[in-house]
């Protein structure tokens, strides 16, 4: 088979699999653009899980009770696991873990800009779980239907663990909302600071999103940024009202006709500035990540040396 027939056959089979709503698997022929887009999206998703541990890990030692502390540790550990599932899925496309980690450290691949906002009070642990994980869940539930098999399977596993994250966050908010005036104010303050960044997590409007059409055609994405954002808004606004809190958006109205909540305009300048690396914490997050990696080098070296030594020993079972 010459190269052009192989390409045509590959493309035809790929198109048929996508049309039939089946999954593309690692060894299948796939267009270069598809491979690159999936690698980029999975890698950034993995980096986000890993960097996302920082704002919460920072509060573990300051959790108000032993139970809240145990819960926070479990959540942060889950996020490390999510990073693992996603890196592992990304590697099925022939890119090495070290390269992915290197791209993050060099700033060539990014993570979600939501993690460049500081977690200022304990209420932020509530707001992050409820809003940030909540937004991630809306996105990830839909991504279970993504066309790349290993990505889809990673999403299924992650979704099973995420609802604990959102619920523990909301439970922190509920405790504060039922507390003293000062605690209620903390709760409202955290909602005020995290609401807009959470909405920005869904990305630019569909009309501004360069790659949406292609990703939708390849079924990597199954719903557009605006569709997902609206799903999140509709589920979250009543939850804020249940807490007795106010959504920090004077233009927020319920549209009786459509049955959807309509929001005011998102500050896109802030959004792009954070993505380009002007966010307050961009530098700190990466510096901390690189430091942890460098300080762990002796552990990796020791493990490698130990494994090599074990291999040299005569086999005990023989």
């Amino acid at each position: 088979m010459d190269a052009s027939t192989e390409f045509e056959n590959g493309q035809a089979k790929f198109d048929a699999i996508i049309a039939a709503d089946e999954k593309i698997e690692p060894r299948d022929w796939m267009p270069d653009g598809y491979r690159k887009t999936v690698i980029r999206q999975m890698a950034q998703h993995a980096h986000s899980e890993v960097i996302g541990m920082q704002p919460e890990a920072n509060w573990i030692l300051r959790a108000p009770t032993l139970l809240r502390k145990a819960i926070l540790i479990a959540k942060v550990q889950d996020e490390a696991g999510h990073g693992l599932y996603l890196y592992s899925a990304t590697e099925t496309l022939g890119v090495s873990r070290d390269e992915l980690v290197g791209l993050l450290h060099e700033g060539k691949q990014k993570y979600s800009s939501i993690f460049n906002y500081p977690a200022l009070s304990w209420a932020d642990m509530g707001a992050i779980g409820w809003l940030v994980d909540g937004a991630a869940i809306v996105n990830q539930i839909v991504l279970q239907g993504t066309s790349y098999g290993p990505y889809s399977r990673a999403m299924v596993k992650i979704c099973k663990e995420e609802s604990f994250h959102a619920r523990q966050g909301y439970s922190i908010m509920m405790a504060l909302a039922e507390g003293s005036d000062e605690q209620k104010a903390m709760c409202q303050d955290a909602l005020n600071r995290w609401w807009w960044p959470a909405l920005m997590m869904f990305g630019p409007h569909d009309s501004e999103s360069a790659h949406t059409a292609e990703s939708m055609a390849w079924k990597i994405k199954r719903k557009t940024n605006d569709e997902l954002r609206q799903m999140f808004i509709d589920q979250t606004v009543p939850q804020a009202h249940y807490l007795g809190m106010t959504i920090p958006d004077p233009d927020l109205v319920f549209d009786e006709e459509t049955g959807h909540w309509t929001i005011g305009e998102i500050d896109w300048d802030e959004f792009w500035a954070t993505i380009k690396g002007d966010g307050r914490l961009n530098r700190e997050r990466i510096t901390h990540k690189v430091k942890a990696w460098d300080e762990g080098r002796w552990v990796r070296d020791a493990a490698t040396a130990y494994a090599a030594k074990q291999k040299m020993k005569p086999d005990k079972s023989a």
């Binding site: 060894r27 899925a89 070290d98 991630a136 380009k276 990796r300 494994a307």
Partner: protein, 113 residues
């Protein structure tokens, strides 16, 4: 979309090196978990570890944090031998419907068969 970072205007996408080596080069292991007694071990993902013992330990932490399993296997990824998934490999079975019970029409009076 969450956890997906849009390309900022003026940003150039980086190049990816396929098959690039790593600094530490821990080998890759495939992880299989038996969810409960009576079930097969099922593939759940992969991880890097310097040796089998560490791979098992990491698999426990990475893939079974909520009693998802009662037993774990790890297999060096390079030891897996895969089929050629071309259609020709599995196609012949489509022409052998007589291998399925539904191929045979049996009168109802015959009863359970």
């Amino acid at each position: 979309m969450s956890y997906e970072v849009p390309v900022a205007p003026g940003d150039k996408p980086h190049e990816i090196q396929f098959g690039g080596g790593g600094e530490h080069g821990f080998p890759l292991w495939e992880v299989f978990v038996r969810a409960k007694r009576g079930l097969n071990h099922t593939h759940v993902g992969s991880l890097h570890a310097p040796d089998a013992e560490t791979a098992i330990q990491n698999a426990r932490d990475g893939y079974t944090r909520r009693a998802e399993g009662v037993s774990v296997w790890v297999v060096p990824s390079i030891e897996i031998v895969a089929s050629d998934d071309a259609e020709s490999m599995f196609e012949p079975f489509e022409h052998k419907p007589y291998r399925h019970p539904t191929f045979y029409e049996i009168p109802e009076e015959v009863g359970q068969l």
